[in-house]
């Protein structure tokens, strides 16, 4: 079996498994997995920029929130149906990520991290500033009637799960196609040695900008879908912790691997869910787990598997 066939079999197999799981999972885990798939899509978006292009962003909450608020405001105040709402969310994410990319990519390294962090903080404060529309920190609820897509009620567990799976499949397959295409190879080349890529004649700025926009758009799409599936749009999702979460999920799962973001999100979700049932210091547990993983699996869970067993993993 060629590496390409193995790759398709593994990723297709995961999607089939996720599809099948909805029929056997208990209600609680069924709901959790739907949520995890949407959050993992956010992490998949983050991974395009961090894992494949080597751009460490500390401001991805901005993109997630841009999609969420683009959709939410269009539905809540514009009376938009879910599909135009999602398109509005995607448009907002494209616009915000392009603007941020154009400005932030003038910096690099630590400065890039700081600039993205500052932009995200400005985005958070913008949400609070326009409290008359956003209800600030309290956020607003999307009612069940506003969440019916082509006659399909997204508040129902089965449709929610299927919608989350569809989003996740689209994000994974897009990323897979991206990293296997010449465009993705150039992104990896930039990550490995930017100067060499430039010397080879690639317009590095253009490629990095494209990576920021693709990453921001996937993250924004995840934000829009999250708001639609779970019925709430709030400023918390624009706060700094939602910039840190995708970084942690990707680091845990394996930066620069297509499946890493999903595994990292799944691991972190259940680590917090299970440890919070035992102790109020559950973030300490999460911290210790992170330290241990950094020490003993620095490539992340999937990254280690790639290093040790399946070297063909994309």
């Amino acid at each position: 079996m060629s590496d390409g066939s193995k790759t398709l079999a593994l990723h297709g197999g995961l999607l089939v498994l996720l599809f099948a799981l909805q029929f056997v999972l208990p209600a609680y885990h069924h709901g959790n997995l739907a949520r995890i798939m949407v959050l993992a899509s956010f992490a998949v978006g983050y991974n395009v920029m961090f894992g494949y292009t080597g751009l460490l962003s500390l401001g991805h909450a901005l993109f997630f929130a841009a999609g969420m608020y683009g959709m939410g405001l269009a539905v809540q105040h514009g009376g938009a149906a879910p599909v135009p709402g999602l398109l509005a969310g995607i448009a907002a994410a494209v616009a915000v990520s392009a603007a941020l990319g154009l400005l932030a990519l003038r910096t690099s390294g630590v400065a890039f991290m700081i600039v993205t962090l500052m932009f995200a903080q400005a985005g958070y404060l913008t949400v609070l500033y326009f409290g008359a529309y956003t209800r600030g920190d309290e956020g607003f609820v999307l009612q069940q009637a506003q969440r019916v897509l082509w006659g399909i009620d997204l508040t129902q567990p089965d449709t929610r799960y299927f919608a989350a799976l569809t989003l996740f499949a689209v994000c994974v397959l897009t990323t897979l196609a991206l990293v296997r295409a010449p465009f993705g190879r150039v992104l990896i080349a930039i990550r490995e040695n930017e100067e060499r890529a430039r010397m080879l004649g690639y317009d590095v700025f253009r490629y990095k900008l494209a990576a920021v926009v693709i990453s921001g758009t996937i993250s924004g799409l995840a934000g829009a879908v999250y708001g639609l599936l779970f019925g709430y749009v709030g400023a918390t999702f624009a706060s700094v912790q939602y910039s840190i979460f995708p970084l942690l999920w990707v680091l845990l799962g394996g930066a620069g691997t297509v499946l890493g973001p999903f595994i990292g999100t799944l691991f972190m979700f259940y680590l917090i869910d299970l440890s919070s049932a035992v102790t109020s210091a559950y973030m300490l547990v999460a911290g210790v787990a992170l330290v241990l993983l950094t020490l003993f699996a620095p490539q992340g869970l999937v990254g280690e598997i790639r290093d040790r067993i399946w070297r063909w993993l994309p």
């Binding site: 709901g31 500033y129 309290e138 609820v141 918390t236 999702f237 869910d273």
Partner: protein, 430 residues
Amino acid sequence: MTTRTTKQTGTTRRGALKTLAAGAAATSLPLWARYAEAQTSEPIRVGFQMHRTGIGAAYGRWYGRTTEAAARLINEAGGINGRPLEIVVEDDGTDPKRGAEVVEKFATQHNCDVGYGTLFSHVVAGSAPRAGELKLPYFVVSEGHHVASGALNRYTVQPGITDVKSQVQAMAPFVAANLGKKVTMIFPDYAFGHDHRDFFSAAIEAQGGEVVAKLAIPPTETSFTKYFPKIPRETEVIYHVMVGPAVLTFVKEMGEFFGPSRPEIFGFIDSLEAVDISSPGLEFLEGTYFWEGMPRYAQADQSPYDKFYREQVGVDDKGASLSDAKDVSTFAHMFGCWETLYVIKAGMEAAGYKGPQDRQALIEAVEAMTEMPHSNEHPQGAKVFNGKTHQVFGPQYISKLEGGMLKVQHTTSIEEGFYPDEVDYTKMSF
């Protein structure tokens, strides 16, 4: 004979089988009995969405203690419909995303009958949609206007604490009549502060007063000196509703700015919940007025219900823990947990609640409630519940800080907090 013997033998075998069957039945009988018993004595599970960590942790700690005390009393008095009450606690980290997950956990993993106890408005807003979808009655103790505004759903109810719109509206007549009519408002620049800004502006205008300046403080601010010069000279009353750890700095800097001559000052005790009023830096608040949901200090005319409530929760006459005088309670809010648990009990009894199939009946029973007399079950004061808006109304207390103690100056009537209905949840489907 043979036949008989055979018959006898057969009979014996059958008899033995019968005996075995009877024995097996007898052996299993206690199991059935236990099962039947379990069905009737299975606890009523109340999922307590607790702010154990995060920004709401101080409130969460005291909401927890109040809940424990009320649950203990309810169980000592025979439980609910003859079944014990079990409180299932999950920490939501004062986070709306985790809040929604916790609600899912209550409904689908812990098999809770209801969800309960959420304070912070953003957690309520994040969690309520899931409660509605899972058809889990969700009793919040938030004082947010989100329930009565119609933003939520039929399964979300706030029967134990009044909402901010009602509180602010009830305060305005006292402020206008006793402190002044030209008000400068200082409030945090987010939804909680905006509610105060909007509701109080309308309420004071209805009293013939006006808000002469509205100073919104960004949530990231740590020093406030640049805002005080913006207070107009004509200001007769400063209305402040700062929350969070910066409040001590805010008060200290306000004191330094005004010195001995200051306008009247009226604030919401939310700023100083779980904070010792005699903390260094708060001296400037002496002689100023506060809204209190329930008076922190036991008053000269303390009701027997207040006394009973303090004893049961473990709070002294100064609103601090009986076991640690430095551990000051969130007294102005936590009564809401106590009263809400008793509303859940009353609702379940009225609905003949047996299990999740009766959740709809429970909501209808609560919607049918109207008057709640001042009692051990409602120690903060008498209440009137509006079934259409799912919101309770009650008295408010205005206290003055004198000699380091908050003394009640005025108690508003329940009616002063009424406003026209903004929603009729009873017309929404289940």
